[in-house]
Symmetry: D2
Subunit: 383 residues, 4 copies
């Protein structure tokens, strides 16, 4: 099951960390720690192996992968010895990491993206390609009537005015080229009615949004705990301090707002009400990719007695995200093979702001994921 993994933002931290990791695991130099599909309960023949993944992608910068790998090693995100060990193989991937096409109309750009995907598929004789967006988070786009209607969208894309934000254009291009699309960022991606129509028309699955790698992950187990114990959460406040490329971008108010909203959604969904308090994201360049998040939760116990819990999370964002990219590629490939179309609600386990009407408690998301992996196995027909 040779599977292409086409990354939008292929020269970024998450992307390159996932490449180094996959190559190191394949070479037997590292354990697949953090790869959810490698835990005993989820291992399945219905999934392509990590070794079956072939990397390619688009980016708007041209930093060599090797140089990015060195930067990641220096920052302590990946071990230096692994960055060095996979250097040659990484060089091989360079051919498949293309500059993002820019054309006169968005329609043309989409066709150029599709052409890149086609070349990638044939060069490597891939069974399928999964496109995953790990590029810079965009601000929410202004609404446009064509977002809700596929025919109108197709027409609008041929005009001079851009109608889709880059993430949605990538989704449009991927789906038009027969490739499932997953958005790891909080950007729009495939989350437009017209793109849902397109996915269904083409019999393709899609997934998102916003990888759940730190504070929100902890929230998604703590909030259900309060709910199940019938304890009343009064306030939940948090702050995320981070540097790095992602942090710099999130310092922009619009991107920040998109992200912060995505981070709070788990509370009403699991508690059934909205406690007071906000989640902040603060850019502190010097912290780099090592994020520190602090949350304070105050709650009422029996007879109104006030109690509190606070936690500090200190994690390396790219190292938390990268193994999930491998998981998502493998799962989406298997879902596609099993004939699934539309939003993949079983991927809620991976996202802060999952698609569809899904559980937000991590434990339930895990069960949904396990059931889906089993179902892929049953549905799969040899190819």
């Amino acid at each position: 099951m040779k599977t292409g993994l086409w990354l939008i933002g292929a020269r970024g931290s998450v992307a390159v960390t996932s490449m180094i990791g996959a190559l190191a695991i394949r070479a037997g130099l590292a354990e697949p720690t953090g790869c959810v599909l490698e835990s005993p309960e989820l291992r399945s023949d219905a999934l392509p192996g990590i070794g079956d993944l072939v990397f390619g992608g688009h980016d708007i910068v041209s930093t060599p992968l090797e140089k990015k790998a060195a930067t990641l090693a220096e920052a302590g995100i990946v071990p230096g010895r692994l960055a060095t060990a996979v250097q040659d193989v990484l060089l091989g991937i360079e051919h498949d990491v293309r500059p993002l096409p820019v054309a006169a109309t968005q329609g043309e750009t989409a066709r150029a993206i599709g052409a890149d995907l086609g070349r990638f598929r044939s060069r490597h004789r891939l069974d399928r390609i999964v496109v995953i967006n790990v590029s810079t988070t965009e601000p929410a786009p202004p609404p446009h009537p064509a977002h809700a209607d596929l025919a109108a969208l197709r027409a609008a894309l041929e005009g001079q005015e851009p109608v889709l934000p880059p993430s949605a254009l990538a989704a449009y291009a991927a789906l038009s080229a027969g490739c499932p699309y997953v958005d790891f960022t909080p950007s729009t991606g495939a989350r437009l009615p017209a793109l849902d129509t397109l996915a269904r028309e083409r019999g393709l699955p899609y997934g998102g949004h916003d990888g759940k790698t730190g504070e929100t992950l902890v929230k998604s187990v703590l909030a259900p705990m309060f709910a199940q114990r019938n304890l009343k959460v009064r306030t939940w406040s948090g702050i995320n301090l981070l540097g790095g490329g992602d942090g710099a971008n999130l310092a922009e108010p619009a991107a920040n707002a998109a992200k912060a909203a995505s981070k709070q959604r788990v509370l009403p969904e699991t508690l059934g009400y909205v406690p007071q308090g906000d989640t902040r994201i603060d850019f502190v360049a010097d912290l780099g990719d090592f994020k520190t998040a602090w949350d304070l939760v105050t709650f009422d116990g029996f007879l109104g007695t006030r109690m509190r819990v606070e936690f500090t999370w200190h994690g390396c964002d790219s190292a938390l995200a990268a193994p999930l990219i491998l998981d998502l590629a493998r799962l989406t490939a298997a879902a596609h093979r099993a004939g699934r179309t539309g939003p993949l609600t079983e991927l809620a386990f991976f996202f802060k702001d999952p698609l569809g009407s899904v559980p937000h408690a991590l434990a339930e998301q895990w069960r949904a994921l396990r059931a889906a992996v089993e179902a892929y196995g049953t549905a799969s027909t040899p190819r």
Copy 2:
């Protein structure tokens, strides 16, 4: 479904807080916050209501309940206005809180305990009595051959030498008197083969051990999170600072050891391995019943990158425990009514060190509990 709730340690903090709370809720003066069975998903006609509970119990001290209530109010464990409001009703309970019988042999003591239970039952025309141990934690008893054999135990109890620790004697007496028994402490309770035989012989259910109210509760959601994300926990260390009666007793090394062991069990059970690190319990008188627990977890992410999470829990122990006592009484009564015998594994949700081979992840324990509540409803036949 008039249900007796007989508390061993009835003049202690947990016991009296549960009484004040039940009376205040019944009187419409307080919400049932922290009562698990009052959350929408678990409400069921198969359970006795909080208002159906009738309180009684044993203790070795004679502090009036009213005085204890005032102490609890002063310490901020219950609101002063509630302690005052239920004063009269609490006075009424005094008749049913008896000094723990002391007799020449443990057999005789057990019969005296049984007689107290009998009188309680008839005075209030109770459908059934659930006995719950909330007395001071004991050290683990020395092993004795009679612990494994009911006939030998019955014989030994008639000798001069004590053969059972107080909690197990209470369990023996309760079961012999036809009452289900639950241990909220880490003490021995019904956890002896001979007592299991007795429970089955009498067709009675029993439950335990060690109410899960703070640090271990958080552990039981965080540890599964690491497991499901396939992150490798390297160390998990914790310290619990608490005063109060329970804290003073836990300052004794033997009781401390019993408790600390109980607190770590969740890690191997959910992770599949034992990370480095210990859990400490430190007595700091001035903190009273407001416990502060701090835990540090260090873990490996992708490619071995080191990360950490720490949390501080600041909770009022008695206020966390009391509503669970009400839940356990109601559940055990319903289980008894539904004909259940032997260890109630569905109560794992409530305990640090649950009986039987059960899940240790809170979310799974919650599902088992919900399934059990549904089953009680189906099985129940009016009695």
Copy 3:
């Protein structure tokens, strides 16, 4: 040494807590915990006693002091029994808490304020009055040329257009009436060249700004520690979560900015450089006056090894501020008596944003304070 303590914002939390405390201490019902001048090293005959303070003030609301006291007790800021015990004496203070005068011109308003001060002085035969501003924090005012010139200011005050923010008008009125003025808030207060001229002209001392009661207090001992150990602080980020009247006001961006700036000043002043990171203030109504602040400091050790310290402060803001109000009144009275004029730099110990070129390390501020108290003793001539 009968000393009037005239509070701008006399019906607010800080003001009323300081009244309750002074009355309770005077009645022997409470210890002077938190009163700096009551520590053995600072006790001095040169200072008026807590019992020598007579309370009065202005406010723009009319909530009875007794009602405010009940609210403070309910919120756990002062013990209920003390609020009740001083009820009658508090009622006596009502006569001296006047509505803030409002007149056609600011000049007229200032004269009306002065008249209130005069009546207060004669009614109680006071040796002197210290005016302290504990009213709501204002946004920074727009600059005005009259701020720098006393004659121009006097002229401008008789015009229709307001030229001073309320805190500066209060300072002008106090100084004009011969009363020293202290600003416990970050508002403008006496911090204008024209008012400095006025103070010197009248031979009066003044002080400020912004009481140092929580996170900044801790900063003022931690930052010098890093400096003295020659450790390089790379980032210092913090968040303050608070509700209460002050919190609600600080939710306004302009007031928030004034406060946040004041909170960071200690870092460059003690470290000699500005680390990355910001201090946030977030309003969370439910937390009331109990503020939680969290700070993360990352620093370089020997050979660049990265280290970190984080702290969580959980304090009751009004209870931290109130004893300092008593201290400031007593110190300023003694300074006045000792003939001091202009900015009281020895009060830096109490402020986040102290006047003048002063040390910002708490330990040095403490020494300056101790030296000043000694000097007051020497300078004092009986009156």
Copy 4:
């Protein structure tokens, strides 16, 4: 001022980190971060430079310095590039790191130690040698009458039975050989009346005990803050989690007790009373040299309102200790040159458990240190 720095425990983490650092700073490869004497306020010509230090020492293991350096680099305690850069110079030091002599009597051992010091002095034509103990912490020795009397001690040392623990024997040998001695560990060192007599007889200074590098450092600024604000500390509890060689040794109850006692001393000394609570040290191998300490302080504010502060310190112990070793060597050499004899109380800034009747607040210790550095300058006469 060519100064020998003779380290007892010269192959341990602190020792080798201090060597690598000194060599790297000398070579212009690293900044002297963490070296107190390099801060602008303390720089002085009366002190030997870091470049004037010549390393030697004793150890009981024979791990090559180069190998230890590699281990330290791998553990992230020193940067790999520095460990590599100083490799050759480190090799040169090997000649001066000798196996600890073992002889028939302790007297003979002491003479052999003295002989090693003599050879070190002449080989490098040193002006003086400072001996610093950075070896494994010992349990407290049993008392012995000869500890109080120098003549008795000299006699006892010639007997078969050991009379001094290793640290005190090293101090005896150093002082006898005319070398000042400093103990960075909580071991006995020169802290015996007989050794004080010896130091004075020989006109030598000595110093100690127990380097202050983490939790106690923070305590020594926080505790004075509470005292100066007249806030009443009720409880102060802490836990230190660490691995590494030092951690492993501290897992031994006797060494642990010595250390824990040393860590709490700052509280009564600065507060004037002993709050409730203990300090724990827990060995967690996997944490290595990166210690995490957590402290909870609860305190009373005005009118008894309860408040709390907690802090988490995450530091690299050897990287915190190493620069202080360089400082101590330079200071002690200057003190010796200035003719100081007996305990160097001005070194209190560096120690958890300083010698003599000295201030325990860090700020006051800093002032004492600064004054001493100035005095060395004045007293110094070229030699």
